[in-house]
Each structure stands twice: as structure tokens, then as C-alpha cells.
């Protein structure tokens, strides 16, 4: 009986559901298009005319009008929107109001640092979340489970920047073990990663725990125990397979939280990265940079979600029709 499954799996894997993939791709593209429009509209409300800011205090109206014409902010909204889309289609995100660099260059400079931090925090969150979740499901209701639940309740309830400040106070200020500022080296990565990753363990651990508990209570596990199988093979062979697949869909939530957390953490640890770029652009009213970074992060997020969904379909046979 068991041999029958791998062959069907192989057949199905060889013929992925192209219709589903295309549909999902089309909807992702639509969502990205919607996000472009949404961000454009929100940022149009941003108070403070960038031309006035650039011209500085005491500039006369002619200078301001001149700068407005240069920036193109004096045109009607829909013309600006049209030209923005046209530029985007040519992968041109505009130039920074402040440094006059192309926005795309600034994003590419900062992107690696954010990916580095984000990927490491994600790894920390997933590693701890999944192992702790499995362990506390196995020891459901015992002291280990309760201790984990209480610690994680605190970790999820602490503001991430406060975790960061406590880590800085202990590891940088008191003991001088790790640097508190800057980016580039591995040692500078440890504290921000811990701070961003630790807070994200809670939600994931909960999902894994309740998933594993649900499967452990299913009749087939009782059957397996009745057959005389040991607990450990039951857990690894049968329970985890069933319990962990749904968790994959929750990765998108974790990634969303990390992409959100990056803004605060990069500011706190004075790191380079996209989050820092956003905060700086906000205080400078540098709209092209702001628009560019938010769009870039959203597109990155939507494409990650697209691949997560695809991998889910690929791994879980039940969703294939």
C-alpha cells in the first residue's frame, strides 16, 4: 500500500496545475497594480509641498513654480499618475528629490542589508517557533508547555524596539560583548536579528502547537499506537507531515511582520536598509524614494506570497484537484 503513494505523487508533481499557477500569477499582478495605485493616492495627500521644502525659506513664488515644473508636481493628478505608470513600466522609479540619485539605485544599495536581517530573523522565528511548537504539543499541559507559553506571551507582548533596547543595555552597554550600532559585520547582525526574530516566535509557535495537538488527537494516531508503533516514529513519520504543511501558509504572515518590524529595528540599531530609507525619506519629504521603497517592498512581499502559495499546492496533495 505505501508504495502506491510515491508514484502517484511523482506523476502529479510532473504535471503541476498550470491553470492554477496562471490564475494566481494574474491575480498577483492585479494586486501589485492595485498597490501602486493605492500608494500613489495615499502619498498624494502628504502635506507640505516638496517644491517649497526644496526651495528653502524665503524663496519667491517664481522659484517655487520653477521647481514645481521641474518635479512635475504642478500637473493634474491623473497626468502624474499616468506618467508614473509609464516610468514604472520602464523600471524607472524616478529620482530622489534630495540626492538626485535614481531611486532604484538607492533601493538596490539598501536591499541586501534588509534581506540579510530579514532572512536571519525569519530563520530564528521559524526554527524556534517550529521546534518549540512541536515540543510543547508533545508535552501538552505539562510544566514545559506552560513555561513556553508564558515566556512567549511576554515575548509577543513586548514592543520589538524595547526588546532591542534591553538587549543593547545588557550586551552592549553593560558587558560590551556586542556592538549596538551599524551594519556590515556578523557581530552587528546578532542583536537586531535576536530582537526581530524573538518577537515573531509566538504566533508561529501557537499555530504549530495547535496543529500538532489536533493531529495527535486524530483517530489514525490511536490506530498507529494500537499497531504498536513507538511515539517517536509516529511523530516524525505521520504527525508532523500532516501538521506542518498548513503552517507554510502562515510564513507569509511572519514575513509581513518582519518587513514591518524592519522599519523600527533598522532605525533603533542605526543600520543601513530599506526601513531606514523609509524613515529618512519621511522626514525629508522625499516622495519618490518613499513611493519607490513602499512599492518595492510590496512587490517583494506579493511575489514571496505567490511562491509560498505555489509551494503549498506543490507539497500538499489535497489542494490539487
Amino acid at each position: 500500500m505505501r508504495m502506491a503513494f510515491p508514484s502517484t505523487m511523482a506523476q502529479r508533481a510532473a504535471a503541476p496545475n498550470m491553470e492554477y499557477v496562471l490564475k494566481r500569477l494574474a491575480s498577483s499582478i492585479l494586486v501589485v497594480f492595485g498597490a501602486i495605485t493605492l500608494v500613489f493616492l495615499i502619498l498624494d495627500w502628504l502635506p507640505g509641498d516638496p517644491a517649497m521644502l526644496l526651495a528653502g525659506d524665503g524663496a519667491n513664488n517664481a522659484t517655487i513654480a520653477n521647481i514645481q515644473a521641474q518635479l512635475g508636481t504642478n500637473r493634474p493628478l491623473w497626468v502624474q499618475y499616468g506618467s508614473y505608470l509609464w516610468q514604472l513600466a520602464h523600471l524607472n522609479l524616478g529620482t530622489s528629490f534630495v540626492t538626485n540619485e535614481p531611486v532604484i539605485n538607492r533601493i538596490w544599495q539598501q536591499f541586501p542589508q534588509t534581506v540579510e536581517l530579514g532572512a536571519c530573523s525569519c530563520l530564528v522565528a521559524v526554527l524556534f517557533g517550529v521546534t518549540l511548537g512541536i515540543a510543547s504539543a508533545v508535552y501538552e499541559g505539562r510544566w514545559f508547555d506552560r513555561a513556553v507559553q508564558i515566556v512567549l506571551l511576554f515575548l509577543t507582548s513586548m514592543p520589538s524596539f524595547w526588546i532591542g533596547i534591553l538587549l543593547i543595555l545588557v550586551f552592549a552597554v553593560s558587558f560590551h560583548w556586542l556592538p549596538a550600532m551599524g551594519s556590515g559585520s556578523f557581530r552587528q547582525l546578532i542583536l537586531p536579528t535576536a530582537c526581530l526574530g524573538l518577537g515573531r516566535i509566538g504566533h508561529l509557535e501557537r499555530l504549530v502547537r495547535s496543529g500538532v495537538i489536533d493531529v495527535l488527537h486524530e483517530p489514525f494516531v490511536t490506530t498507529l499506537r494500537g499497531k504498536g508503533l513507538k511515539e517517536i516514529p509516529i511523530l516524525y513519520r505521520h504527525v508532523l507531515r500532516n501538521a506542518l504543511i498548513p503552517v507554510i501558509t502562515q510564513f507569509s504572515m511572519v514575513i509581513g511582520e518582519i518587513l514591518s518590524g524592519v522599519v523600527v529595528i533598522e532605525t533603533l540599531f542605526a543600520r543601513q536598509g530599506l526601513g531606514r530609507l523609509i524613515v529618512d525619506a519621511l522626514s525629508d519629504r522625499d516622495i519618490p524614494v518613499l513611493q519607490g521603497v513602499v512599492l518595492f517592498v510590496s512587490i517583494f512581499y506579493v511575489s514571496l506570497n505567490f511562491f509560498i502559495d505555489l509551494s503549498y499546492v506543490w507539497i500538499d496533495r489535497r489542494t490539487r484537484i
Partner: protein, 306 residues
């Protein structure tokens, strides 16, 4: 058709208190193997903390040891002592006093955001879930777009676009809550909609708003309560994060995130400056989350939320 007509003609069809019939079939607590005092503690302790913070928020002048404008020139950045339990800041102001006065901003921010976010999210979820069809499809697409921007980034640009400050922070945080809330409410409404008593009410000619108000909303009530409690914690954290970046409260009414951001500049000299405001945020959020968990294990034993 009015309530009374339906009650007279078909008394069985009008559930007087819909939730009781559901609840009575289940044990009052799903954690029945846990000791009752633990559950009592899990309700009592968070309520105590929340009540204390609410008192801070309501009447700070009665509780705080000093006035927020008091500055002690002899105790600039003084360590915690009997005179200043939480220490003092760079102007010699008492940090305990600042934290007590900051409670109002933080609490109002979270409550405002959750009220705005939960009510609009519920409205959207109720209407789309019940109406279905093209309206539902269109609104769900908008929500998908909305959620494609990571929540904090969206809140950040909305807060900035509205000019920063108190009310724009509330709107920004509500914008994180609305799409997630309405999705869950919509799913719940769709499952309620298929139940026989709704079909019966429809067959009797009851209007849509009447069904939504009398039948659907009460059945979604416990879910809304749990969901709101769980989101209060997120709202407090998001609000303090926005203040920390410098988009939330104004310096005249500093909230906890703002004090924390100030304290960050004195980490090497004054560990207490950033530590205690953070402790305040954490104790409030822990209490709210613990309460939310306890409520959830009562109303949602199968953990269908999130």
C-alpha cells in the same frame, strides 16, 4: 415584518438569546482539567493591571507623585531612588510621573484605533459576507490590495500623509485592523448565513438589515469580542512603534512610545529612562493578551481565529 409578528406567528424561529443555546451544550471552560484558581488568576491579574492603568489614564494628577512639569535641577538623570522610583530624565522630571501621564495617550490611542478599526471591519465583513456576489468579490479584491502592503509600512505612510499627530495615528492603526477584521467576520457571516434559521427568516420576508442585526450580529458577537481583545494588544504596540519613529504623539502629550524614544538617547547614562516606559507598555499588552487568550479559550475552543 417586525420582531413581534414573527414571534407571534412562529415563536420557535426567533432565538431569544442565540448564544445561550450554543454555550449550554459546551462546558463553560474548555480548560476544565486546569485548576479553577488558575483561570481566576488569569482573569483577575490582567484585569487588575488594566484597571490600574485606566486609573492612571483617567486621573493622573491624583496618582502621580509630581506634576509632569516639575523639574528637579538637583536630580538630572538621577537613578531610581525613593524620591524618584523610576528615576528622572534629562530635565530632572520624574519618569514615574511621565509614565502615569503618558497612559492616557497610549490607552486612548489603542481604544480609538480598535473602535474605529473593529467597527468598520465588522461593517465591511457583515455586508460583504451577507451580500455575496459582485460586491463581495470587488471588496475582497480591494482588501487583498490593502493587505499586500506590509501593515506597518501602510500605517507609516497613512500617518505621514494625514500629517502625524493623534487622530492620524488612530486612522493609521485602524487601517491595519480593518482588512484583517473584515476577512474573519466575513467568513463567520458566510457560515452563519447558511444556517436554517436565517433561511427561515428570509422565507418569512424579513429585511436584510433586520436579519443582520437580529440574527447574524448576535451570533458573531463572541467572535468580535475575542478578536477585538486580541487586536488591542497589536494596536498598543503599533501605536508605540509609530511614536517611537516620531509619527505619533506630539511632545506636549508624550505617550509611552515617545518617552521610550527619548530614553533611547541616554542608554549609556540612564538605563531606567527607556526601561520603565517599555515595562508599562509590556505590562498592558501582556494583560490584554492574557485576557484575550482566556476569552478565546472560552468562546473559541477550537482556535479557529488567526
Amino acid at each position: 415584518m417586525s420582531d413581534q409578528t414573527i414571534k407571534n406567528v412562529y415563536p420557535d424561529l426567533v432565538p431569544v438569546a442565540p448564544d445561550k443555546s450554543v454555550a449550554s451544550s459546551q462546558p463553560a471552560w474548555s480548560l476544565k482539567d486546569a485548576w479553577p484558581w488558575k483561570i481566576q488568576l488569569a482573569i483577575f491579574l490582567p484585569c487588575l493591571v488594566i484597571a490600574t492603568i485606566f486609573i492612571f489614564a483617567a486621573v493622573p494628577s491624583l496618582v502621580a507623585p509630581y506634576a509632569p512639569t516639575d523639574m528637579d535641577d538637583n536630580a538630572i538623570l538621577a537613578a531610581p531612588s525613593l524620591h524618584h522610583l523610576f528615576g528622572t530624565d534629562q530635565f530632572g522630571s520624574d519618569i514615574l510621573t511621565l509614565v502615569i501621564y503618558g497612559a492616557r495617550q497610549s490607552v486612548l490611542l489603542a481604544l480609538g484605533a480598535i473602535l474605529l478599526g473593529a467597527s468598520s471591519g465588522t461593517l465591511v465583513g457583515l455586508v460583504t459576507g451577507y451580500a455575496g456576489g459582485k460586491l463581495d468579490a470587488a471588496v475582497m479584491r480591494v482588501i487583498e490590495v490593502w493587505m499586500s502592503i506590509p501593515p506597518m509600512l501602510l500605517a507609516l505612510i497613512i500617518a505621514a500623509a494625514l500629517g502625524g499627530g493623534f487622530s492620524s495615528t488612530i486612522i493609521a492603526i485602524a487601517s491595519m485592523i480593518v482588512p484583517r477584521f473584515s476577512r474573519i467576520v466575513r467568513a463567520q457571516v458566510i457560515s452563519i448565513k447558511a444556517r436554517p434559521f436565517i433561511v427561515a427568516a428570509q422565507a418569512l420576508g424579513a429585511s436584510k438589515t433586520w436579519i443582520l442585526r437580529r440574527h447574524v450580529l448576535p451570533h458573531a458577537g463572541s467572535l468580535l469580542l475575542v478578536l477585538s481583545t486580541l487586536w488591542v494588544g497589536e494596536a498598543i504596540l503599533a501605536g508605540s512603534a509609530l511614536s517611537f519613529i516620531g509619527l505619533g504623539a506630539n511632545p506636549d502629550h508624550p505617550d509611552w512610545g515617545f518617552i521610550l524614544a527619548q530614553g533611547r538617547n541616554y542608554l549609556t547614562d540612564a538605563w531606567w529612562y527607556a526601561t520603565f516606559p517599555g515595562l508599562a507598555i509590556t505590562s498592558l499588552v501582556v494583560s490584554v493578551n492574557l485576557l484575550g487568550d482566556t476569552l478565546r479559550s472560552k468562546f473559541d475552543p477550537q482556535h479557529k481565529l488567526r
